[in-house]
């Protein structure tokens, strides 16, 4: 328990000292809101059911944060810690692998929530966005989405032979997903062929679930999305624990 707490606090501290991770987790979401808010504004529109453009984008941006943390931050951190020999150093102590990974997941989730909160507050202040859902329900959705994306990140980090390779694989998976999943660009505007591709992308389900919950939908309405994410989480966790490498 003592080591779990210390490790989590250490991770959070290192995040804040590392400009690149701090940017990905906090700067990136804030930047998204500022740029897209400036471009589209948040005028209520008949087309959007009386909501503004930023209103309907917020859950998608949240999904984007979960994607960057899971597929980029987790992947790059884990594989570069391994490559540098930091994981080896931990392994020579009584620290259990489970505690190490739990602390990593906890600190990532916490940073994600902080990034998301910053984004929501800024959107609210500058563009007067509305939130119509149940906060607890959305929080659970964010945690489920975050865990499932992170579990994929550990799988990529374990499969890739080098940190560079892990980074490339993470990016190759993330960037197309960012646009096709509906997170950064409305999926309604995609051609049929890309819509079919989207059905196979994990981030699509995060986006759909969050969008549903954000506007007051219930978990039972988004059963499929939730089940897909639970399945991804279960399979990826199983695979990651089997193939995770300390060196």
């Amino acid at each position: 328990m003592k080591s779990l707490l210390k490790l989590t606090v250490t991770n959070l501290r290192l995040y804040l000292r590392e400009p690149i991770t701090a940017f990905f987790i906090i700067g990136f979401p804030v930047m998204l809101v500022l740029i897209f808010g400036a471009i589209f504004g948040n005028q209520p529109s008949q087309l959007l059911g009386g909501r503004g453009s930023m209103d309907i984008s917020m859950p998608g941006y949240t999904a984007l944060i979960l994607g960057t943390v899971g597929l980029l931050t987790v992947t790059i951190n884990t594989s570069s810690y391994r490559e540098a020999g930091i994981l080896r150093r931990f392994r020579a102590t009584p620290l259990s692998p489970l505690v190490y990974l739990t602390a990593d997941v906890l600190s990532n989730q916490l940073m994600t929530l902080i990034g998301m909160l910053c984004m929501v507050i800024i959107a609210r202040l500058l563009f007067h966005t509305h939130f119509e859902g149940n906060a607890l329900s959305v929080l659970l959705g964010v945690i489920l989405g975050g865990l499932s994306m992170s579990s994929l990140g550990y799988v990529i980090a374990s499969l890739a032979p080098t940190a560079r390779m892990a980074q490339v694989v993470g990016m190759v998976l993330f960037y197309p997903m960012m646009f096709i999943s509906g997170a950064a660009y409305p999926s309604e505007l995609l051609p049929a062929s890309l819509k079919r591709v989207a059905e196979w992308l994990p981030l699509t389900y995060v986006t759909r679930l969050l969008r549903g919950l954000w506007f007051g939908g219930t978990w039972s309405e988004y059963r499929t999305e939730a089940l897909v994410l639970v399945a991804i989480l279960a399979v990826a966790t199983l695979v990651a624990t089997r193939i995770f490498r300390w060196e």
Partner: protein, 304 residues
């Protein structure tokens, strides 16, 4: 003396390469034992099997009575490990590192005296990435000593350090032993092994080719000593070959080199030169080192 580490018929292969091929030895409590040999001899693999970081293909290992691969955290609580290659997050500070690692152990030493002992107390607020090679190495030793371990494993302790830092590191190791701890180290510096180790195991191609105290290993060579004197070029070479200890002499410009063996060699040669009025006070003695022992046992130089 009780046995702290015992290794019996250890084998470990990486694909077709037999990294460790039947290594056997024991380390007694309070002893410094060194595994010495060139890079790739199998020293690190042996050490990492003993530390429980690698699973042996076959063989019996016991550290403090436990099988290192199966014991897991129970053994790691009681040993200290300095790895040949490892790192810490670049922005993690020295004091934070000790604080974090202390939380992994049931008991740990206070951080500040430990940093003082290692001479890096003034660096406690410096990040790992700002430390010099020697300071990083000291931090890793601090981590290896943090849990007040019974056995300390040091893998290539001084590689990459300048001569001054290396000597300071040697004093540290002797200090660790003075605290009653057992030390198992690897090195490819023969001088380091001679200076630190009570016993040395010379490792080559995954096997131990000799295991004894440095002095005994050197004696076993029964190699000649060389006495080197300064001698004016104009002076006639003294006759020394009548001395039973002297095998031959060599004249090399203003140097006179006397080869020989035996306990009285130096005495008798110096006395004879003094009698002949040729002693200038400029005298150097060279004798066999562990380096020569390695050469004699394997037919190769240590670093090639």
């Amino acid at each position: 003396m009780s046995t702290v580490v015992s290794v019996h018929q250890l084998h470990k292969a990486y694909g077709p390469v037999k990294a460790v091929d039947g290594i056997e030895f024991q380390v007694s409590q309070g002893e410094i034992l060194g595994l010495v040999g060139p890079n790739g001899a199998g020293k690190t693999t042996t050490l990492e099997c003993i530390e429980g970081l690698r699973q042996p293909d076959s063989g019996t290992l016991r550290v403090l009575g436990m099988d290192p691969w199966l014991a897991g955290p129970a053994l790691k609580q009681r040993i200290g490990v300095q790895l040949q290659t490892s790192a810490l997050p670049l922005r993690l500070k020295v004091a934070e590192t000790l604080d974090l690692f202390a939380s992994f152990y049931q008991r740990s030493l206070p951080a500040l005296p430990l940093l003082e002992q290692l001479g890096i107390a003034d660096k406690r607020d410096a990040a790992f990435g700002q430390l010099s090679g020697g300071q990083k190495q000291r931090l890793f030793i601090a981590l290896a000593l943090l849990n007040d371990p019974e056995v300390v494993f040091l893998d290539e302790l001084t590689t990459g350090l300048d001569p001054q830092a290396r000597r300071a590191m040697w004093d540290l190791v002797l200090d660790i032993r003075r605290q009653g701890k057992t030390v198992l180290l690897t090195t490819h510096y023969m001088e380091e092994a001679e200076r630190l180790c009570d016993r040395v195991a010379i490792v080559d191609h995954g096997r131990i080719v000799a295991l004894d105290s440095p002095a005994a290993l050197i004696r076993s060579l029964s190699a000649e000593k060389r006495l080197i004197f300064a001698l004016p070029v104009s002076a006639a070479a003294p006759s020394l070959t009548h001395l039973p200890e002297v095998s031959r002499i060599e004249r090399n410009g203003d140097q006179l080199i006397v080869y020989g063996q035996g306990d009285h060699l130096i005495n008798n040669v110096v006395f004879a030169l003094d009698q002949a009025g040729l002693l200038t006070g400029d005298l150097r003695i060279e004798q066999a080192t562990l380096e020569d022992v390695f050469l004699a046992l394997t037919g190769r130089k240590m670093r090639e």
